[in-house]
């Protein structure tokens, strides 16, 4: 086939960078406004009683009340669904509420989940302490123990959950293999891909069925707004077994509607919105949705800079006398280096964990003396961020749980920003110098 002929059969659907700027929005339906308008409203006029009834009964698409949906938020939802290769998405007030809503849509009391052990501390506590109060139990499996996920499946298991690259240890789940395990068991694979964004990895392409994000992080980038989202892949067959009666059986809350029958590849999102947003209500504000949209417009260029700075940082840390160890999937001796090459071809992300020589005290001195890098409980900002997980994000864990989560007392978690790399390096030199100085005794 000639190049010319080949071109004629290539789809002309928009690609990633174009979708980042345009997906989900048509100016001609919004007074020609080139920018997405902020619909700062709680509710929407009905044409007449019939129209109102049709909206409430899911006979027509449209908006009723901003807890359930909002036109600005809907643009964000469609945009992320388009970027992830998903069929539908539902934005929430935070990443944690996206996870909670996902689990509440999937599970009932008496159900069980298989969960990766290396997660953000808040997520660990949700699965370990909070969900059991709702009757949902979890078995934790180390992310590299692929066979362990299979062994942990029970009769009442309703899904497998994990962060593609674990927080904060950078352990990577073998997503394609774990997806097969989930699908052989007739349950969906849910992946938190906050660290990657769809620019680095689209989990749906590797077998994930539902993707969740904290949009607060790299997707927004600016660190100004909390937001989360769940994205549906559309491939999972809810009707293949009797594990998901709330998806497949008539639902009393909507005149006997079966979400799976009626909405097929968007059934999960429809249920999460119609039931979850209605009953739990963790809705995203239109202002925050708009703020996140501003960030997504530059997602690919930011991620390229994040990744290139991260690679320079890895090189710098690896050769530094004050550094005991460095964990980043780009390092050739990282246990998941080959898997990372397969799953993260456009870059290995900007999260680095490293151990500082001198242990906990040296780590504290480092963090107290860097000035450009911000010491705070967030990741994925355009600015460089540092934290000592054992004393902050994961501080609610006991020693045994910390160890199981792969954490050590000397670990510094670093989210590399997009500043000029020389400036970040100079700042780190200041921090390392302080860490090497003999401790001052402050309580004499």
């Amino acid at each position: 086939m000639t190049d010319k002929k080949k071109k004629s059969t290539d789809p002309k659907t928009y690609k990633f960078d174009t979708l980042s700027l345009h997906a989900g929005y048509q100016p001609h339906k919004n007074a020609g406004s080139r920018q997405v308008p902020i619909y700062q409203t709680t509710s929407y006029l009905f044409d007449d009683v019939d129209h109102a009834a049709a909206l409430f009964n899911l006979e027509r698409g449209g908006h009723i009340y901003s807890r359930i949906s909002n036109p600005t938020v809907a643009v964000l939802e469609e945009r992320v669904a388009a970027l992830e290769g998903g069929t539908a998405a539902l934005a929430t007030s935070s990443g944690m509420s996206a996870i909670f809503l996902t689990i509440m849509t999937l599970c009932e009391a008496g159900d069980h989940l298989v969960v990766s052990s290396q997660l953000y501390g808040g997520t660990v506590n949700l699965f370990r302490l909070t969900l059991p109060k709702f009757g949902v139990k979890c078995t934790f499996v180390k992310p590299r123990d692929t066979e362990g996920f299979k062994k942990a499946i029970q009769k009442n298991t309703k899904g497998i959950f994990g962060e593609l690259v674990g927080n904060p240890g950078n352990e990577i789940m073998n997503m394609p293999e774990i997806a097969k395990i989930a699908h052989n068991a007739g349950v969906p694979l849910i992946i938190d891909a906050t660290y990657q964004t769809p620019y680095l990895c689209k989990p749906i392409d590797h077998g994930a069925d539902i993707v969740v994000h904290s949009l607060t992080k790299w997707m927004a980038g600016h660190g100004s707004s909390m937001a989360g989202i769940l994205v549906e892949g559309g491939k999972f067959d809810w009707m293949q077994n009797d594990k998901f009666p709330t998806m497949t059986k008539p639902y009393e809350g909507y005149h006997g509607l079966s979400f799976a029958e009626e909405f097929g590849p968007t059934a999960f999102t429809m249920k999460a919105r119609a039931e979850g947003m209605r009953d739990f209500g963790p809705c995203l504000s239109p202002q925050n949705a708009w703020n996140v949209l501003q960030g997504i417009e530059t997602l690919s260029v930011r991620m390229q800079k994040h990744c290139s700075n991260a690679e320079k940082m890895v090189e710098y840390l690896l050769s530094h006398e004050s550094v005991a160890w460095v964990s980043h999937p780009s390092v050739p001796n990282h246990p998941d280096h080959d898997l990372a090459k397969k799953l993260l071809p456009h870059g290995k992300g900007s999260m680095i964990a490293f151990g500082i020589k001198g242990g906990k005290e040296a780590g504290e001195a480092f963090i107290n003396n860097v000035k450009l890098a911000s010491h705070l409980a967030n990741v994925g900002d355009t600015r460089t961020l540092v934290i000592h997980p054992a004393s902050s994000t994961h501080s609610q864990m006991d020693v045994a749980t910390l160890k199981f989560a792969g954490l050590s007392q000397d670990m510094i978690r670093l989210s590399v920003g997009i500043e000029d790399f020389d400036d970040i390096r100079n700042d780190f030199e200041t921090g390392f110098r302080a860490a090497r100085r003999p401790r001052l005794v402050s309580n004499q």
Binding site: A89, P265, T269
Partner: protein, 272 residues
């Protein structure tokens, strides 16, 4: 609901209401390679407003059993069999794209059974792009990607679905990939390409007919839809702006409003 037609189990969405034989019947027929789910923003309205609805999965498609039917004529006969199987004597038919050929041929063959025709993105013939046809017959997913590209108008490519959060290019693609492409899309495309009776059938249609066309439709352009409509006595034509072939998703509300007005006028609910 599931029921049997000629011994084969068939699935049809009833629009979220129990199927009630006392109500007038509207049958929705999907396009090539798709399923009943393309109609979700039209069927539920009618199901909740006095009609019995069957949004069918054609044999071998979606949740229906059996194998895909190989000709438009076989599909037209099958629609007639569906009407018999659910115990009705008559029905109003709504079709999209290939579904238009099917219901047109059905009305031609069974004029007493069919009370109205609603054609969305229809034409008297749908010759297929040869490359697209071969890709589909070879089970190449690119056939679906191309179909989704060509089936959506310029505005539809940006999204902006009436159902919040739903991205319809990916949703349509997922529907078309839900079964083996060569056994659904491949067979359907070949059936469309082979069908030659559309214009002859149109001349014989004597029932109220509506054509909903879209000015951004590259698969069944407005001029082809009008050519067909001109052959049908008293046929009505409505054209939707800024919209492509997937009008029932791209402009679901406008389509529903037009369809509602037509069906309530020409296939009204009989009041006791």
């Amino acid at each position: 609901m599931k029921f049997k037609v000629n011994g084969v189990e068939v699935f049809a969405s009833t629009g979220g209401r129990p199927f009630d034989k006392k109500k007038p019947l509207i049958i929705f027929v999907h396009g090539s390679g798709l399923t009943h789910m393309t109609w979700v923003l039209q069927t539920r309205y009618f199901a909740f407003h006095g009609y019995s609805v069957l949004a069918l999965d054609m044999p071998g498609h979606g949740l229906s059993g059996g194998e895909s039917l190989k000709t438009i004529e076989d599909m037209a006969n099958w629609i007639s069999d569906v009407i018999d199987a659910v115990g009705y004597k008559e029905a109003s038919l709504v079709g999209h794209s290939q579904g238009c050929l099917v219901i047109l041929e059905c009305a031609f063959r069974f004029p007493k059974k069919i009370k109205t025709l609603s054609l969305m993105g229809g034409a008297g013939a749908i010759p297929m792009n040869p490359e697209l046809l071969i890709l589909a017959e070879n089970d190449d997913p690119k056939a679906v990607d191309l179909m989704m590209d060509w089936a959506h108008g310029p505005a539809g490519h940006f999204g902006g679905h009436p159902v919040p959060g739903l991205y319809h290019i990916n949703t349509g693609g997922m529907l078309a990939k839900s079964r083996t492409i060569k056994n659904t899309l491949g067979i359907d495309f070949r059936a469309c390409d082979n069908y030659k009776n559309g214009f002859k059938a149109a001349k014989e249609i004597k029932i109220p007919t509506l054509s909903i066309l879209a000015n951004g439709d590259k698969m069944c352009p407005v001029k082809e839809g009008k050519k067909l409509a001109d052959l049908i006595d008293g046929s009505k034509v409505e054209i939707i702006d800024n919209c492509g072939h997937m009008m029932l998703l791209e402009e679901a509300d406008k389509v529903l409003n037009i369809l509602k007005k037509f069906i309530l006028t020409y296939f009204p609910i009989k009041k006791n």
